[in-house]
């Protein structure tokens, strides 16, 4: 059992598509289901899932790519950090190309700034250990899947008594933006394919208030094509029966309570804060800030990073793409001026970004 091949079986996926077509004949109005997570977006483009669905079952892409929702001001702070030669900036690879207001980390690195790509935040802690005279700043972006790995790394730095390591944190948390999008009258959402790996940490219960308060079906869905198809089928079944509950399609990895150990480590280091989401604005309580007890690991506290307010490139429609209101194909810059090699907006940078997925698989 490799947990993958069987969930990519073409015939199975085709059969599921036929079933979805049959069910969709009973719909009186078209339905809009949002795939919240960038990895879903990628998989949906990669396997051509949209083309398997009837016209009245629409999928819209949501804000679940952490790189894409990171505001430009954050990138500017990262750029400012590289100005001091004492600093080593450590980051996951896909932050490198995200455009700030004047440059990107990629350009800074080409110009000689010390920027290291790491696979794990623990590698950044080890860097700090190896360079005791330098200061290592790690770019902490990501949702509840990633935030615990960064919390664990801070705890590890504390355990090893490393005091030249800190994190520029811009973590975001999940159900809140879904609430905002549910209330958006332009979107008319009828159901969610809830994030898969975020849910391994937060658990299926996290979506219950959303499903109950707004009467919207939520299905925690895996990433393989058969998972996505089954998730859609489960949402359709709920819609046709007038139900709005949380279901877990991805039961091989997600349970109702999530991962309590990861949750505990996360909340030992972080507390909720208001956060700016590209495209969605400031959402109260949707971010994670490092607790004051751990201020020595908080780059915001340890460095004076006063960067002027910055505005996104007005030609980039990422904001609307992240809300599911437009598709990349509606953007005049798509695949002409804006490409993965020279992205205008963050949605074109990360492989989970809607514009990048559409560029790679969707044209």
């Amino acid at each position: 059992m490799k947990f993958q091949d069987e969930f990519r079986d073409r015939e199975l996926v085709q059969n599921m598509a036929s079933n979805i077509h049959r069910m969709a004949e009973r719909l009186t109005v078209p339905v809009n289901f949002m795939e919240v997570c960038g990895t879903h977006t990628m998989s949906i483009y990669q396997y051509g899932i949209r083309s398997l669905l009837p016209e009245n079952v629409r999928l819209v892409s949501g804000p679940g790519c952490p790189v894409c929702v990171t505001p430009i001001g954050y990138v500017d702070k990262a750029l400012a950090i590289t100005e001091d030669t004492k600093n080593i900036l450590a980051t996951f690879g896909d932050m490198l190309r995200v455009p700030g207001s004047s440059s990107s980390l990629m350009e800074k690195r080409a110009a000689g700034a010390d920027i290291r790509i790491v696979y794990s935040p623990l590698d950044a802690v080890m860097l700090a250990k190896d360079y005791p005279d330098r200061r290592v700043i790690f770019l902490g972006v990501g949702f509840e899947t990633t935030a615990p790995t960064i919390a664990a790394s801070i705890l590890e730095a504390a355990r090893l008594d490393i005091n030249n390591f800190c994190v520029l944190a811009s973590h975001k948390t999940m159900p809140i933006p879904m609430e905002i999008l549910t209330c958006d009258p332009d979107l008319k959402l009828n159901g969610y394919l809830c994030p898969a790996h975020v849910s391994t940490v937060i658990g299926g219960n996290a979506y219950k208030p959303l499903a109950e308060k707004y009467n919207i079906p939520c299905v925690v869905t895996g990433f393989e094509p058969a998972d996505v198809m089954q998730g859609i089928e489960m949402l359709l079944a709920q819609t046709l029966h007038g139900k709005s509950k949380v279901e877990i399609q991805y039961s091989r990895a997600v349970n109702w309570k999530g991962n309590p150990k990861a949750q505990a480590i996360l909340s030992r280091i972080f507390e909720p804060c208001d956060a700016v989401w590209r495209g969605l604005g400031i959402l109260p309580g949707s971010g994670l800030a490092i607790r004051p007890e751990f201020a020595e690991y908080d780059a915001e506290q340890m460095l004076s990073l006063n960067v002027p307010d910055a505005a996104e490139n007005p030609a980039c429609l990422c904001g609307e793409v992240l809300k599911g209101k437009l598709t990349p194909f509606d953007c005049p810059l798509f695949a002409t001026v804006c490409t993965p090699e020279s992205p205008v907006g963050a949605c074109m940078v990360s492989s989970e970004g809607t514009c990048a997925a559409a560029y790679k698989y969707g044209r």
């Binding site: 059992m1 490799k2 947990f3 993958q4 069987e6 969930f7 015939e11 199975l12 059969n15 599921m16 036929s18 079933n19 049959r22 997570c37 960038g38 990895t39 679940g64 790519c65 952490p66 790189v67 996951f92 690879g93 896909d94 932050m95 696979y119 794990s120 935040p121 623990l122 590698d123 972006v141 990501g142 949702f143 899947t145 990633t146 615990p148 790995t149 664990a152 590890e156 790996h197 391994t200 940490v201 058969a226 089954q230 399609q249 039961s251 091989r252 990895a253 997600v254 991962n259 309590p260 150990k261 990861a262 480590i265 990360s350 989970e352």
Partner: protein, 76 residues
């Protein structure tokens, strides 16, 4: 960036494991995992940490249910 992959544990030393997928092996930490795992188990690895154990029983159940409900003849 959110990339998280199902990997098989090939060795374990305390809280550190080596896990493998498609012939690529990586080190990962078990610091965030509450469930007990051993060599041969599958876990989802993200940014150097195992964040969830994959339940083989549930995986088989999901697949056989899918095949049962979505069998070819039923769709004709």
């Amino acid at each position: 960036m959110c990339l998280a992959v199902p990997m098989k544990i090939v060795s374990r030393d305390g809280d550190n494991i080596i896990a493998e997928v498609d012939g690529v092996s990586k080190e990962a930490s078990l610091m965030l995992l509450g469930e007990d795992v051993e060599v041969g188990d599958y876990v989802i690895v993200h940014a150097g940490f195992a964040i969830s154990k994959l339940d083989e029983e549930y995986a088989k159940e999901t697949i056989s249910l899918m095949k049962e409900v979505f069998s070819g003849e039923d769709m004709a």
